[in-house]
Symmetry: C2
Subunit: 117 residues, 2 copies
């Protein structure tokens, strides 16, 4: 997995659900699934095991009212996966939130970076 740039990475925390309900890792996975049409290929691109990716997908699907990822097995291509409309919406909103958050905190963030060892 490539080193993330040193930037603010907001993580969504919900009252129930674990402390890592949704964050940059899951968002990135969604992006790669949308781009590749395959959980396995997306996982490979991110340098993570298929098992782990599938666990993340399952966790996300269980967290919302409807699944974010629709997967099919078998068929000519062996199967595949794609984002549901809800999945697209969640990803879009999270991406916009992350951008807005970074923009709103830029000055303090830059100041903090200078205080680091």
């Amino acid at each position: 997995m490539a080193r993330p740039a040193p930037q603010l990475q907001p993580r969504l925390r919900f009252p129930h659900a674990g402390p890592d309900a949704f964050g940059p890792g899951k968002a990135e996975l969604l992006r790669h699934i949308a781009a590749t049409g395959s959980i396995r290929t997306a996982a490979a691109e991110l340098g993570m095991s298929y098992n782990r990716a599938w666990q993340l997908v399952t966790a996300m699907n269980a967290l919302f009212r409807q699944p974010l990822v629709a997967a099919a097995r078998g068929g000519g291509t062996g199967g595949g996966a794609a984002l549901t409309p809800l999945g697209e919406e969640v990803l879009a909103r999270y991406t916009r939130m992350a951008d807005a958050c970074r923009a709103a905190t830029r000055p303090d963030w830059a100041a903090l970076l200078r205080l680091l060892k």
Copy 2:
């Protein structure tokens, strides 16, 4: 530990340093140290062990150019701890960043909440 309110909790991630360089937990610890003048008392109020609190303080102190917490042992009161000027600054900036981030992401955040199971 008390259940956190369902709100966005930005966490600062730096290139080196672990994935949890600084976040809501450490900020809250700083606040309680500043308020009580004692690592031990602060830890007790947060329902965490002194050991864990001390680990967090050490990690924070090592992350920045100068310590965020200055602690003294012995003396009439047994000892104590307080925030350094740098500690006050870091806490103030983080608090402001968290507020700004929440304000900037409010609409999408509210929309996402409605999509939860």
